[in-house]
Every structure is written in C-alpha cells, then in structure tokens.
Symmetry: C2
Subunit: 439 residues, 2 copies
C-alpha cells in the first residue's frame, strides 16, 4: 500500500517529510507562490510551492504542473509538513517536493447551487462534498452500533431472499422479474421470511438489506429501493417488548454517533445529536388523534390512520411536553394494519402494534405477530387475501411457533431526520425512484 | 419480555424455580414418569413430570397435556431446576410445575434422512437442527468480525443499488425487471458502484449485500441470489495491497469464529477451525498450471483459465507444501478477466488480479482496477463492449480518480468450505436456484 498520510492525521505528526494524496479542491496560482487546497476522505490541507517562472532559476516542472491542474484532479504529493498557526486551514501546510498527477479531471458539471436532480446525475462528484462524506460515515457508525448491540444480545443475522414466488405485503407496488420460465417478485420487506426464523427456533434475528416497492410517489421520504433494518424476537408478551428492544437499539446507535461524530455533525449541519432517554413516550393512536385535534388539527382521513401533518403535530406536542424527539404511537386499528398483526384479546378492533415517530416523521412499524394459525388465516381472509396463496407462510405456524414480534425501520429516513436533511435523496448513496434508475 | 431462561444458561444457575420455553424434541411417556426433551436456540434439556394416571391422587391435567404433545410443539414451562450428574443430557433436569402449550405442531414432513430438496421445501423445520442453528451463528460471528475490522480501519459502509439501468458484468445471466414504463436489471455484483466510491473520495468502502445471477447451473456452488462480500480501497500500488487486506480480514474473522464456536464446530461437524498464517501463499496462475500438470492433471480448457479440479489440485499441493488452506492464484491472463482489471505495465497479456482458493474451491476474485480512462475504454472495446452503453461508468474516471482495487467474495461458499458442508444449500437461509423460488 502506498504509504500516504491521511490529512486528518497531519495535525498530530512532527514536522518533516510526508506523502499526502487526494483531489484538488482549489488552486491559487500566484506569481511568486502557488497554493493547492488538497482534499481526501478525512479533510483538507494547504500545499504550497514557490513558483519557478520563466527567467527564474530552478526547475519549472512542478510550477507548470500546478498551473495546469484542474479542480478535482487526483494527485499524490511528497513534501515537508510545517505547523504554522497563521495558516487558517488547520494550522499547517505541506511544502511540495514532488507532485504526481494521478488522474486529471474534466471540469465539474455541478456547482454548489445545482438542483438536487442535477447533483444526483453526478452523484459521485456530489459525494465529494465533506458533508456528504460525513453522512455516510455517520451511517456506518449507526449501523455498526446496531449490529454490535444485536450480536452482544445473542441475535442471529439472517439474509432473507429478495426473489420471491409471491408478494410479501400486497399485490400492489410489486416489481415483477423474469425468472427463467416463470415470474418472480422482488421482496417488499423481509416480513414473512424473518418470521420464518421463529418456527425455525432462531430466537432473535436481525437483517439489514434492500427492499423494493414499485411506489410511484415522489415525496422526500419514498424510494423504490431502500435499506430496511429488521429485527424479530421470540417469546414476547406484547409489542411492549419489541418497543423496549427498539429504544435500547436507538440509544446504543445514537450514543455511538454522538461520541464519534457529534462535533462534526454540529459543525456541518448545525445539529446537536441527542441521545434519547428511555422509555420513549408511548401514546395510543386514538389518544394521539385527540391531542392533535386539541391543537386544532383534524386529520383529514376517512380511516383511523394518522397523516404526515398529524405525525408532525404529535411530535411537536411530545417535544413540548416531554422534550423528546421520539414517540411510539401504539394500538393502531386492525382495519389499517396488515393481517399478521396480533389483535387485542379484549378488543379485536385494535392491534398490538406501533409506529415510531422521530422528529415528526414515521421511521418504523413494529408489532406482535399473530402466531395462532386459525386466527391468522381468518384475519387474512377478512382482509380479502387468499389463504391458498399464503399457504407457504401459514405453514410456518402449523408445526409449532413461539409468540413473537419485531419491527422494520427505514435506514435513510432515520439518517435524514438525524441530520435534518430535506430528503432521503441526500442520504442515499444512489437514490432509486420512479424516474431515477441512473447512474 | 417473558422472563425465560435460555437452556444453555441452566448449567450455571442455582437449583430452584426457572421458566424455560422452546419446542418439544421428544416425549417419553412412561407409566410412572414422563420426560420431555425441550430444545431452544441455545440447547436441549430434560423436563420431568411424575405421571398422575387414572386412579392416582392429584391433578392429571399436566400428565394429559404431556401425553398429547406432538414433537415440534412450542411450550413454556415453569418448574424446579435440579442438577443431577446422572442425567446424561447436561447433568440437569427441570421438574415441571406448570406447562403451557403455546402452539401445537403437525407431524414433521421431514426426517433425518430426507433428501436435500425435501428439506429445502421445509427449510424452517430443517433449520431447527442444532447443526443448522450453528451454521447461522457462525455466519453471524464471521460477518461481524469482518465489519468490525473494516470499521476499525476507517472503511465506510455503502449500499449500492440492486436495480440498475444496464448490466454490471455481462449481458448474459441478467435478470430483467418491469420498472414502471421501462426495464431495469438486477445487479450481478456491486462492481461499478463500489468503484464509484473511489472518484467520490470515500477512500475505503465495504458492502455485504445480495447479488443476482440468472445462472442456469445446478452445481453445489452456484445460486441465482447470493450474498456478496465486497471491499474496495484507494491508493493501492497493485493487487498485492488488496490481497494483504483480504488475508488480514480472514484472519480476524476466523479468529473470532474459532474463539466463539471452535469447540461446537468440532463437535457438530468434526472440523477444526484453523486460523491461517499470513502471508497466504501466492502463486501466479501460469505457475499453478505447471504445478498441477506436474501432478499429472492437465486442465482441459482451451483458454488460460483454471477449472475446479485444477483448483482442488493446487490446493492439495499448497496444503502439502505449506500446510495452508488458502492460496492466492495471481496474474490471470487478460483474455479471461473483465475489461476493468488493470494489466501489467510490462505485459498487457497479464492482469493485476487474483482468485482466492479456500480448501480447493474459489471463493473470491480481486484485482487492481484500470483507472486511466483511455486504457479502460480501449479494454472495453477490445472485449466487444460498447463504450456508449458504459458511459455512466466511464464518466467515473473522467473527473479524477485514485488508483484502486478490491475484491468480491461469496459468503455461502466461505461458510460451506469452513464447515466442510457438501453444498451452499446447507448454509443458505433460503436457497434460490433455477428451480427453487419457494418457500
């Protein structure tokens, strides 16, 4: 491996020879002296070269190379590190000894003020912005903290197939695949197959993987392909046990993010990462709707569900009342929940389920699942589903199964809300939407 | 959460009241006393109940419930833990105080000697076997050790899209998706998009995610959907830097597996996990073919490539000569490598690439990538590819890019070879093949 020093590490090094490598952020080509701001994945530093112009003594090769540099060009530089408080950028500079142009760059087709669509066309250049780099380092830390929590708590990681013979959630919003002599469908969620781990006796499982929805919407929160964070645990008494796992996970992940990136996030986005206290507030949905109505907002829906404005309103209420960024809305009506959600023993109109709202937006749905096969079949029928077609899934419950529940959570939504970004497009490596399949 | 004790934890508990829950492995319903072997994700234990038969004093409810139990039924039991060396199964038993049948089970349609196809039809029951459970715990530990190594070494986790507008590797073996008014294709590998992280300035990236190949083969090593382990790093001098990362990763992962599961793996599979020494042996492919020929095997191929028997032979040679289970075969001919592999400066007929062989089977391909766009375009054209169609990919190299390389490795193959299983079907949660889309 070429022994380059990461720019972030220069501050801790003694003065002397170093090798740095990255891309040219800017060049200031003055008569007597040339400056390059060099950027790598860890930061930016100033490189300096006394210019050797026509008529000057010395070799003009490096001077001419610098004059010819375009922004974005990748270069590798050997030089002398000098700490100098007068240098605004990090209090240090590197005097160039040798400079190699590794890959020259055409002029960037995007600028600071380019539209999001144009930036997505050139996503690999857009990702060079330090804030974008930070987004993905935050995401890395967030996911690793989740997985570490799961592993330390005895969970098994599973990889459910994304190619299915039938729908996992509904016939709508389903992508169809040509599969040899037949058709397959892309998994809309790992729901059925993560539940399968329960009769399989796996106990506690997790998965972080893509899911696919042929959703024609163009909102800031929807994508046709997204990363779904899923967990499913056995021997629960109710959805309360799922919520308890869920909040512990988020505390672990946000603690890790705050420790590792808190200062950077504040500098880049003006956002202070808050580690939430537990338990998170829990409000039954019916009560939440009354609270929201009391604030003057009537949810304009014929069914029992919330809407995005209602979610913002209840989040604002929770923030005011409890100073909390999270709230579990619980006990959704059976009419607006999938057939596999368990219903209350005393009131079949309500389910053992929840949505988790973070900074005003739904990021997750969780529930206890119905594991009694007669009830499950009845509930499927009631929703107009064909138990025949669900046969493979219903079989999971015919050979013994523990009570269980879990949640699915959208990675991009969490990161968007954590960093207060306007759209999941800003926090997705390569966004996929109805009109967006490239690059 | 219902406060159950994992069966594996009973050994360390004092005698007294406990609650255990799991599925019925077997029932021995004797006249005077009844035994249940109960299994959960952590192990098996014997439960005991003095039978209350007709005419006996006492409540016969539990006795009758036990007599009615079918294998596989999930039950929850409160009882008294007693340590007793005479009990073969773990030296302990639980005297049943109360027993709840949580979910009864139909008779299992599979048995120990069922065919692999029948077992895959009933995968959720097949996965109840303790060896199957171990496979997925090993996999969890393996992956977590890889990710921990990456995170500790400053890698960024990426999630490349699986829906693409064009092929990522070749037009063959491509799954086509109906995508609104157009067509999409399932990613055959994250190759192009993990490389995109390089001009994006991410430095070092990793991804563990599904990949899809419409491969009609029915071998023990191929699937239409598989988990691909990918890494890509910048500022390398050659594929040697990629191999060095690769072997360090495998040492970290196998160390973790050996520590956590070594004894269990030996007991279940008769396999001793070996932590490999570094550096792994490296043999240029041309030399490997000579060695294999010297052993009396001539690779029956018209091109310069190895074949599976050749891989077994060279692995046997390496095992004999160096006592090593791994070998890097290096410097494959350009004619049998994709256009994006960098070629030797001095001999364009050879590439800066390798295959990694583990216990005689190829588990991974790695390479330095060609980052000089003119050469890349020329190599694509030479392979009969249309640079127009590759435009979005070639663009990644026109705006500055560091030298880079990486590898892709099949998760199931590694686990299959580590545990010496006959097929990836045995180590895949739900296998997908040309004839296998269910459950």
């Amino acid at each position: 491996m070429t022994s380059r020093t990461l720019i972030a590490d220069l501050a801790h090094l003694p003065e002397g020879p170093v090798r740095v490598a990255g891309w040219v952020d800017t060049v200031r080509d003055q008569k007597k002296v040339q400056f390059i701001v060099l950027r790598d994945e860890s930061g930016a530093a100033q490189l300096v070269n006394p210019a050797v112009r026509e008529g000057d003594e010395g070799d003009p090769t490096i001077t001419e190379a610098i004059s010819g540099l375009t922004n974005g060009t990748f270069i590798s530089v050997e030089g002398e590190l000098k700490h100098d408080e007068r240098v605004k950028l990090g209090g240090l500079e590197v005097k160039i000894g040798d400079l190699e142009v590794v890959a020259p760059a055409l002029d960037s087709p995007i600028a600071e003020d380019s539209s999001i669509d144009k930036r997505l066309d050139w996503r690999f250049l857009d990702l060079r912005r330090p804030e974008q780099n930070l987004v993905f380092r935050v995401q890395t830390t967030f996911l690793h903290a989740l997985r570490t929590w799961w592993v330390e708590h005895g969970f098994i990681e599973i990889h459910t197939p994304k190619l299915m013979a039938s729908a996992s959630e509904s016939r709508a919003e389903l992508f169809e695949v040509e599969y040899f002599e037949t058709k397959a469908y892309l998994a809309q969620s790992p729901q059925f197959f993560k539940q399968m781990a329960q009769p399989a006796g796996f106990g506690k499982v997790f998965e972080v993987a893509p899911a696919f929805r042929a959703d024609p919407s163009f909102t800031s929160r929807h994508a046709t392909e997204f990363i779904s964070i899923d967990a499913e645990i056995s021997w629960i008494d109710s959805h309360e046990d799922v919520m308890r796992m869920h909040e512990e996970l988020l505390v672990a992940a946000l603690t890790a993010v705050k420790e590792k990136h808190g200062a950077e996030i504040e500098a880049a986005f003006g956002v202070e990462v808050t580690v939430p206290t537990t338990p998170f507030p829990r409000i039954p949905l019916a009560e939440a709707k009354e609270i929201v109505a009391g604030r003057g907002y009537t949810v304009p829906r014929a069914d029992a569900d919330m809407d995005p404005e209602g979610e913002r309103q209840i989040a604002a209420y929770v923030k005011e009342q409890f100073g909390h960024e999270f709230v579990f809305l619980t006990d959704y009506a059976s009419s607006i929940r999938p057939f596999y959600h368990m219903r209350h023993e005393a009131d079949a109109g309500l389910t053992n389920s929840y949505d988790l709202i973070f900074n005003g937006v739904e990021i997750s749905t969780g529930a206890q699942r119905e594991h009694r096969v007669e009830l499950l079949e009845e509930q499927a029928r009631e929703k107009g589903l064909d138990p025949e077609e669900l046969g493979f899934y219903l079989d999971f419950f015919r050979y013994g199964v523990p009570p269980h529940g879990g949640f699915g959570m959208g990675l991009s939504r969490v990161i968007m809300l954590l960093l207060q970004q306007p759209s999941i497009r800003e926090v997705t490596y390569l966004f996929r939407g109805p009109n967006r399949l490239q690059p």
